[in-house]
Each structure stands twice: as structure tokens, then as C-alpha cells.
């Protein structure tokens, strides 16, 4: 088993896959290190000034991610409610395991941090809870399909919790509850404006409106230092529930910009990395406790939804995707002193993707006819 995993890991770094030209490898593994190489720590092509300009792109990318999660959460098929509860339970267990363990370690080790240990612990818990859907093909087994749906739904709770953390740290000075309600209000109001625009326009003009609404979702949230992810999620959720074909239009239009936005987000994350003692100290516990939390959370979720969620659900959810990094970047936007967290989460995400190659159950070999 271990040997097989090692072989698969090595094969990832071969030729096309290593260049990111094959879907076999998650983009995080290529683009975060690429960002490091291009950033101030590397060649310096992405200078702090350019990274400052990319701040707007990050806000827009965060809103886009939130939007996809909102649409996915509202449009999941059968067993949606049970799966949402099970996914949220899985995310809650992961958050608790990571936050609790990190808080304990911070108290024991006395790592020098400019932020309160409990805030760092909760923030890392939120970053750890998100997971990416394993790629699905037509002939995949039921367990893998369910895991993909759980991976979509288990981002909802972390986004809400993350919005609360962002609101607590925000410099605007509004109460934390208002800081959570504000992005929801922004998301719903802009979703209404978007619905009016998208349903009554077409062609390139509609593309401009979609981009404009996404930029406003990210921009309004960034201006108020609240969560763009939550603003996007609220808008996506409303679009999926309203009549018409707005959610389909948005998905189609965003398909053109989604990939570049995500890659820019990952490159910006890599370029923003600052190596520090605290970041290095946080990295390994973050990866270990995240994997442990996912396995425990998956087991717990399978008990909550027996017959729906597979017993080895957690193994499928080890791949972190970009949401964790997005959380970390969002926290870094609203408050200073988050560099160790961004480092631990970004490098931790790269490491987790490699761990996922070993942990995720392999596809069954097709039986010979």
C-alpha cells in the first residue's frame, strides 16, 4: 500500500503532469511554488507593489469561489439536507480538532505570534475545514460521488465561521454579528441586481454585467473588511433558488474567468509567503491535525448519515482545494500579522495535496470482459 502510494507520488512529478499540463495534479502543487519563485522571496518579479494591485483580484476570486459554493449548496440533488448536515458535522469536527490541538500546542510551545493564540487557532481550524472534490468520471463508484458532494457542502460552515473571524478582526469597528450580516445583505442585494441584469441581456454585454456583479461582491466586502466568500455564497445561493436561468448563465460566464482567477489567487498566495519561525512551527501540526480531523470528521459524518456517506469518507476529503488558502488570504487582507498563518496554510495545502495522493482510495481497476 505504502509502496504503491510512493510510486503514485513520484509519477505526479513526471513530464506533463509536473508542468501542470495534465489534470492529474492539483494546481496548488504547481502554482503556489511558482508564486514563491516569482514573488519577493524569489525572483522579485511580483514585487510588493504588484501584489498590492493583485489585492483586488484576490477579493474578486474569493467572491467567485463563494458564489460557486452557494450555487452548489442550493442545487445539490437528492438527500441534500442530510448531506448538508453530515458535511457540516464533518467540517465542525475538523475545525474543532485543528483549532483545539493548535491552541493547546501554542500554549505549550510558546511560539512568538503577534496575534492572540485563540484567534490563530480558530483561523487555522476554519482554513483546515474546507476540502476539494475529488475528480469524478462517468464510471466512478457511489462513495466517490458522495464524497464530491460532501466536499462541495462542507465549505458552507467554514465560510460562515470564517466570516465571523474576519468580522472580529475587521478594522471598520462594527459589531461581529453585523460583520457577518453585512456580506449576506450585500450578497442578496447584488444578487437581485444581477438577476435583473442577467435575465434581460445577452452576449458580451451579459459577460460585462456578470463580471461587474462579481467585482462588486468582492469589492463591497473588501471595502468594508468583511468576508467576500460569504457575500458570494449568499448571491450564488439566491441565484440558484430564483426562477429563470441566472445560475446557469453565471456558471457559463464565470467558466471563462474562473480558472485564471484561481490561478492568480494561488500565485498571489505563493508570492505573499514570508518564511518565519512561527510559520514553520505551525505548518507541520496544521497538516497532521488537518488529516486527523478530516478522517475523524468523515467517520462522524458517515455515522450521522448511514447509508448515504461512506465509512471512509474522510480519506476522500484530505485534498484541501483552494478555499483554505482563500480564507488565509482574506484574513491577511483584513488584519496585519497573519503572515505565519498564510505560510502554514499555503505550504500545508501543498503538502496535503501530496498526502491526498497516498490517502485517497484508488479507483477500482476495470474488470476484464
Amino acid at each position: 500500500m505504502a509502496l504503491q502510494g510512493l510510486r503514485r507520488t513520484i509519477s505526479l512529478f513526471r513530464t506533463r503532469a509536473a508542468l501542470g499540463l495534465s489534470p492529474a495534479m492539483a494546481p496548488i502543487v504547481l502554482y503556489v511554488p511558482l508564486g514563491m519563485l516569482l514573488g519577493p522571496m524569489g525572483a522579485g518579479i511580483l514585487s510588493p507593489r504588484i501584489l498590492g494591485h493583485l489585492d483586488a483580484v484576490i477579493s474578486i476570486a474569493l467572491a467567485t469561489l463563494g458564489l460557486f459554493i452557494g450555487i452548489a449548496a442550493a442545487t445539490q440533488g437528492g438527500e441534500r439536507k442530510r448531506l448538508l448536515v453530515a458535511s457540516s458535522a464533518e467540517a465542525a469536527v475538523t475545525m474543532t480538532v485543528v483549532a483545539g490541538a493548535i491552541f493547546f500546542l501554542l500554549g505549550t510551545w510558546g511560539i512568538p505570534l503577534s496575534l492572540e493564540p485563540r484567534i490563530v487557532a480558530v483561523a487555522l481550524g476554519v482554513c483546515a475545514a474546507a476540502s476539494a472534490a475529488p475528480p469524478i468520471t462517468a464510471g466512478d463508484e457511489q462513495a466517490r460521488r458522495i464524497a464530491a458532494r460532501v466536499a462541495d457542502l462542507d465549505d458552507v460552515l467554514p465560510i460562515l465561521a470564517g466570516a465571523f473571524v474576519v468580522a472580529t478582526l475587521s478594522s471598520v469597528g462594527m459589531p461581529a454579528l453585523l460583520g457577518v450580516l453585512a456580506p449576506i445583505g450585500i450578497g442578496l442585494a447584488l444578487a437581485a441586481a444581477g438577476w435583473l441584469l442577467f435575465e434581460h441581456s445577452e452576449g458580451a454585454e451579459r459577460g460585462v454585467y456578470v463580471l461587474g456583479i462579481i467585482a462588486l461582491l468582492g469589492g463591497c466586502a473588501a471595502y468594508l473588511s468583511v468576508s467576500p466568500l460569504l457575500a458570494g455564497m449568499a448571491a450564488g445561493w439566491l441565484w440558484a433558488l430564483t426562477s429563470g436561468h441566472t445560475d446557469a448563465v453565471v456558471r457559463r460566464e464565470l467558466r471563462k474567468v474562473q480558472h485564471p482567477l484561481i490561478l492568480l489567487l494561488l500565485i498571489a498566495a505563493g508570492a505573499s509567503l514570508e518564511v518565519s519561525t512561527a510559520g514553520i512551527w505551525l505548518f507541520a501540526p496544521y497538516v497532521v491535525f488537518r488529516v486527523a480531523g478530516k478522517l475523524m470528521g468523515g467517520w462522524f459524518a458517515s455515522r450521522m448519515a448511514p447509508g448515504v456517506a461512506p465509512s471512509d469518507l474522510g480519506a476522500y476529503l484530505v485534498s484541501p482545494g483552494v478555499i483554505g488558502i482563500a480564507f488565509a488570504l482574506n484574513l491577511d487582507q483584513v488584519t496585519p500579522g497573519m503572515a505565519p498563518l498564510v505560510f502554514a496554510v499555503s505550504i500545508g495545502a501543498v503538502a496535503s495535496e501530496i498526502v491526498a495522493v497516498i490517502v485517497v482510495p484508488p479507483r477500482p481497476q476495470p474488470q476484464p470482459a
Binding site: 494591485h53 483586488a56 471598520v172 461582491l217 471595502y223
Partner: protein, 442 residues
């Protein structure tokens, strides 16, 4: 018209956010300004198109109305943030223009283009020089010798005679126009831009001599580098991009964005003119890898609309209306003179170069706009000669405000009369456009 209901919602949210966000220690207005400009300017452009005016005028008017001088919804910091996009926008717009220029297609018309440009510019330069000489008492320059007056008038002539390749290309792209008038206007404007850079540099040498400074020997070297170096750099970058399209061809939008950012970014360290470099890059891609160039052109043109909206909204928000108010009558007089000279010059040029009607009769309408290049030159003058250069800058800024509003309206009317509006869409057909995402182009 239902979508207009989205405008008050958007306005209301942005207003509320700006009010609450005023208390934030760290304001990050870029994405907010981008989103608001995209939605509101696009709606304004759509409204103006309904009454037969160009969309870009709607974007400009929106920028003016919401900008710092009128409603102040787009505040000064937001307008500044929008300007950051301009560097990228100019490169993308010029790159698209390069993709439109097929050398083998233009070769047969080169003589006519040079003749038309030459006659138009000669009449414009001579006429403006005479006009400024006569208007001297009202221009606000005092205590100058005859030589200094001659130099300043020549400098004013060079700056005010300039055209705007950016606006011309943007309007052609946005209105999906194609045909002899679009091609001819584009060629004349680009040629005039090249001549302008040479002329301006030489006249600045004369001004330095007239005002007692030493001419810079290195200036000619700098000029050569700025023109030929920009072309060489752009051609090399275009060749690399073409190779990437041929042999990799993945993540094209992201690579195109990085490509534009690199060309825009090397302006300061390498003294490269981004417009010329991007134009050369587009030329290489179009004429070297035609097969991929066509699909890239479609993708770039489709993706250019949001960039154009932002570009013109930012230009509108940055129009210095106070300058226009301060010397309005003088600006209107100079503008009228310039317009008359362009009309006369282009018609004479078309007649000399045997360009047939209606192209020959309409080409002058595409030469009125002025924008970034003109402003950049005026800022150079003001920076080097703060005493009288500021007067030049004020006059030029006021003229740009006028020509930004008049120019696009005239050019769109000309394209409409020539039957070239939307010609690209008619040629492409719905099938090609629908298959772009599937082919991985966008």
C-alpha cells in the same frame, strides 16, 4: 429597460458601502470601483446606443457624472485606482489593433495611406502653427522673446495636432467594425503617432535651445530606442507569445494578461512605448501564426469589452472639468480650428491619394479624438517648464475633455455611414463565437 432597475440597487449599495467604509482604517477601493464602473457604465453605454450614440461616450459620461467633479460616487482614490487598469488596457487595445493588421493585405494600400497621412498632417501642422501664432495674446504666455514664442507655438502645435490611437482602436473593437474606413483610419492614426513622437522630441530640443538650456545629444538615441526599440521589443515578445500559442496553447487568457502586464510594466525601466510594443507584438502574432491568431483575435476582442468599459469610465472620471471651465472659450476656439483643419486636410489628402468615396470623405471623422498620448506629452512639458508649461497643460487637458466627447460620436457616425458597424459579427457568424469556449480559446 428592466435592467435599468438594477442601477438604483447598485447605486444604493455602493453609496451605503462607501459611507460605512469611511470608518475603515485600510480602504481597498479597487474592486469596488471596478465593479461599479462595469455595471453602471455598461448600462449608460447601452442607453446611449439606443439613441444612436457610441457606447464609449456613455462610458465617458458615466465616469464624468459619477466622478470626483460631479457626484463624487467614484471618489478621487477610486478614480486613481481605476487609472491603474489603464496601462493594461492600452496594451490590450494596441495588441488587438496589431492582430487586425495583415501586412500582405495592407501592402497594396501603403502608398495611399502615406500620402493621405502626409497631406493631412502637413495641413494640420501648418494651420495650427498659424492659428496659435495669431491667438498668442490670448494664450496667457507673457514676457517671451520671438524665438521663445516660435518654440512654444511649435510645441503647442505638435501636442494639439496629435490623434488618439487608443480611442480609435477601442471604438473599432467595441463596435465590432471592419472595412476600408476602419483600416484606413487606424493606419493613419498609428502612422501619425509615430511621426508625433519624432516631431515632439525634435521640437523639445528646439524649445530647450530657445530657453537657454543645452540640447541633449542622448535624446536622439533615446528617440531611436523609443521608436525602434519598442517595435523590436514588442516583436520579440510577440514571437515568444506566438511560440507559446503554437506549442503549448494552454491558459491563454492568463498568459495574455501576464503578457500585457509585462509590456505595460517595462515602460519605465526600459523606456519602451507600450502602445508601439503591443502593436508590434500583435502584428507578429497575426502575421506569423495566422491560424492561432484568428482565434486569439476573437477571444481578445470578446474579452476586450470589460476592459474598454473600465478604460473609458476611468477616462471620464479623470476628465479635468475645472480646466475646461477655466479656459472654455479658448479651448472651443482651438478645437474648432483643429476640427476644420482635420476636415480640410483629410479631404485634400484623400483626393491626392485617390481614395474613393465614401471612405475618403469620412476619414476625417476618425481623427478627432485625443487621449492618453496627448496628455502624456502635455505632462512632460509641464514637468520640464513649470512656469509656462502648466498653461500648455491646462489648454491641452481642456481640449482632451472636448475631443473625448466629440471624437467617438463623429467616428461612430462615420462607421455607420460606411456600413462597417458590426461587420465582424456578421462575418464571424454565430457558430464560431459559440465554439470559442469549447476550443479553449476563452
Amino acid at each position: 429597460m428592466r435592467r435599468l432597475l438594477a442601477l438604483p440597487i447598485t447605486l444604493g449599495i455602493v453609496w451605503l458601502v462607501v459611507q460605512f467604509g469611511a470608518y475603515a482604517e485600510l480602504q481597498r477601493p479597487t474592486a469596488l470601483a471596478l465593479g461599479f464602473a462595469l455595471i453602471a457604465a455598461a448600462l449608460a453605454g447601452g442607453l446611449l446606443e439606443r439613441i444612436g450614440l457610441p457606447r464609449v461616450t456613455g462610458y465617458l459620461l458615466f465616469g464624468m457624472a459619477c466622478g470626483p467633479y460631479v457626484l463624487n460616487i467614484i471618489t478621487r482614490p477610486m478614480a486613481r485606482e481605476l487609472q491603474i487598469i489603464n496601462g493594461l488596457a492600452v496594451v490590450l487595445i494596441a495588441f488587438i489593433a496589431g492582430l487586425e493588421i495583415n501586412i500582405s493585405h495592407l501592402r497594396s494600400r501603403l502608398r495611399a495611406i502615406v500620402q493621405l497621412s502626409g497631406v493631412t498632417m502637413l495641413i494640420l501642422y501648418v494651420g495650427l502653427f498659424a492659428g496659435f501664432w495669431l491667438l498668442w495674446p490670448w494664450l496667457g504666455f507673457t514676457g517671451m522673446t520671438l524665438l521663445e514664442r516660435f518654440a512654444v507655438v511649435a510645441l503647442l502645435t505638435a501636442v494639439v495636432a496629435s490623434f488618439s490611437p487608443t480611442v480609435t482602436i477601442a471604438l473599432i473593437t467595441e463596435s465590432r467594425a471592419k472595412g476600408p474606413l476602419s483600416e484606413l483610419t487606424l493606419a493613419v492614426v498609428i502612422l501619425a503617432d509615430l511621426v508625433l513622437i519624432v516631431f515632439f522630441t525634435l521640437i523639445m530640443q528646439m524649445v530647450r535651445y530657445a530657453f537657454g538650456g543645452a540640447g541633449e545629444v542622448g535624446l536622439l538615441v533615446g528617440l531611436t530606442w523609443e521608436v525602434f526599440g519598442s517595435f523590436a521589443f514588442g516583436a520579440a515578445a510577440g514571437a515568444l507569445f506566438a511560440l507559446y500559442l503554437l506549442y503549448v496553447g494552454r491558459e491563454v487568457p492568463l498568459v495574455l494578461l501576464a503578457f500585457c502586464a509585462v509590456i505595460a510594466g517595462v515602460k519605465a525601466p526600459l523606456h519602451i512605448e507600450p502602445l508601439l510594443a503591443a502593436l508590434a507584438a500583435g502584428l507578429v502574432v497575426e502575421n506569423v501564426v495566422t491560424s492561432r491568431g484568428d482565434s486569439l483575435k476573437e477571444a481578445a476582442e470578446r474579452g476586450a469589452l470589460p476592459v474598454l468599459v473600465i478604460f473609458f469610465a476611468a477616462a471620464g472620471a479623470s476628465l479635468q472639468l475645472d480646466a475646461l471651465a477655466a479656459i472654455g472659450w479658448l479651448a472651443v476656439t482651438v478645437s474648432a480650428l483643429r476640427l476644420a483643419l482635420i476636415w480640410f486636410g483629410a479631404r485634400r489628402g484623400a483626393s491626392v491619394s485617390n481614395i474613393e468615396a465614401p471612405t475618403g470623405q469620412l476619414v476625417w471623422m476618425g481623427l478627432v479624438s485625443q487621449a492618453g498620448v496627448t496628455l502624456g506629452l502635455a505632462m512632460l512639458v509641464a514637468a520640464e517648464y513649470p512656469t509656462w508649461g502648466v498653461t500648455v497643460q491646462t489648454l491641452v487637458v481642456a481640449l482632451i475633455a472636448l475631443h473625448q466627447l466629440i471624437g467617438p460620436v463623429l467616428f461612430r457616425a462615420a462607421l455607420a455611414r460606411a456600413g462597417e458597424l458590426g461587420q465582424l459579427d456578421r462575418e464571424a457568424g454565430p457558430e464560431l463565437l459559440e465554439t470559442l469556449p469549447e476550443r479553449g480559446v476563452i
